[in-house]
Symmetry: C2
Subunit: 243 residues, 2 copies
DNA sequence: TAGATTGTTAATCGATTAACAATC
DNA sequence: TAGATTGTTAATCGATTAACAATC
């Protein structure tokens, strides 16, 4: 039977639900409702129910969702039941920071190797993780079963290491380099770009002059006239956001 | 006159356009068309024209957009004409990596201070940037005119440093901590969450077993029946993406 | 039972894309 | 002029939200 296509936005929210369930689910609470979840995460309860309903009927009418049960379900949906070996390409500041970043603990991600081209770095270990030469990437992917690579090299080298990774059989890439990478359509790339984020934030800084400080809640941004600045406030000066 | 509300999606794409214009615009090409821009960035040309049209008529019919002119316009729209002082909170691996990350050069962002609570770190300098105590944050915000803070502290401390920053008058935050932060509605938070990104990628890894290797282009993912796994492929196994 | 909350359909909202007259 | 490409309107598409019967 042909299953329904799941919208990407839904998949992106699952980790957000999962985190809430794991953090706060450590309390004694046995059930959580879509309403409470929505409150805490700033999301519409109907959306949460709809998201979860793509994968099955996980809730109990009148009660909500059993926290432990839902947690396990979401982990299974995301494929987090087996350990997933990942590699970091780039042994610079950012690459090493990411490698040492122990947020993967308990999340079943394991950084098995760091790759660099600097002979002065190759052979060293960082937090027990060996730094290897980029030329060894294909061999390591095969040997360690690496599934995801995180690219943390300077922008001018990003495309070429992406090519190497894809050739080695990698189909999932998390790119921190400020560069648009071209990869075959079967490879999934997610990008995290500090510069773009800062530039976007910079835009919204401009609104400030006209935003009345006190009654910020009641402000209807799109009705405010702007003088000095050429551009406008977005209606949502709100925060929210994640994923 | 009341200006139009600009959708957030539009603002998020402006830095993407800007980067293309600045990188490739260093060539001799004087004009770029929405078609070419779309090709390179994987976006619909009509969307690009529409995005730019929110802010004015920047193009020349029959020619396209003058690269230098459009670059300047977008920088102006984003408010990148003056230097924007930013601060990094968290002097750990990630915080220091971000602080040293020289991608801000020429982008008019300047990290003026790093904040930490570790007495062993406070007083040191990293790349010429002083590490100060978090208690000094409000003073520094006032003195240096800090506009944006980047939060790179462990998740359990993220909310409390966000509170300090907001109290100090910060209205734009880039959060790297894996935590959902609550801030007043006039404060803008963008979050970058490695764990969420990896978990999302993990979901799409599962499709692979059923994806025929050779004719990946012709695969209609949503028509593929899945056996072992409970969930399905998203139609877009494509890459694209940025921001 | 009465109250609560789900799963799901229908309504709304917003974003993307197609199409084309205007014009360089 | 002929070809190209804009700015913009209309059409499409998809995602979010509201509403409610089902039911614990």
């Amino acid at each position: 039977m042909v299953k329904q296509k799941i919208p990407e936005m839904v998949i992106k929210r699952l980790p957000v639900y999962l985190r809430y369930l794991e953090y706060y689910g450590e309390s004694d609470r046995e059930y959580v409702s879509s309403f409470e979840l929505g409150q805490k995460l700033g999301l519409n309860p109907a959306q949460i129910r709809k998201d979860l309903a793509y994968f099955g009927e996980f809730g109990k009418k009148g009660l909500g969702y059993e926290v432990g049960f839902l947690t396990k379900k979401i982990r299974k949906i995301l494929g987090l039941n087996q350990e997933i070996p990942i590699a970091v390409i780039g042994g610079g500041n950012l690459g090493l920071a990411i490698s040492r970043y122990n947020v993967y603990r308990g999340q079943n991600f394991k950084v098995t190797a760091i790759f660099d081209v600097d002979p002065g770095k190759v052979g060293l270990k960082v937090n027990g993780i060996p730094i290897k030469h980029v030329d060894d990437l294909p061999g390591e992917v095969a040997r360690e079963g690496i599934r995801i690579v995180i690219i943390a090299v300077p922008a001018p080298h990003a495309q070429q290491v992406a090519d190497v990774a894809v050739k080695a059989g990698i189909t999932a890439i998390l790119n921190f380099a400020p560069a648009k990478l071209k990869v075959p359509s079967f490879v999934r790339i997610h990008a995290t770009d500090v510069t773009c984020e800062l530039q976007t934030l910079a835009y919204y800084l401009q609104g400030e002059g006209v935003v009345p400080k006190a009654p910020a809640e009641s402000l209807k941004a799109d009705e405010v006239e702007i003088n000095e600045v050429e551009t406008t406030l977005d209606g949502k000066v709100v925060s929210t956001e994640s994923e």
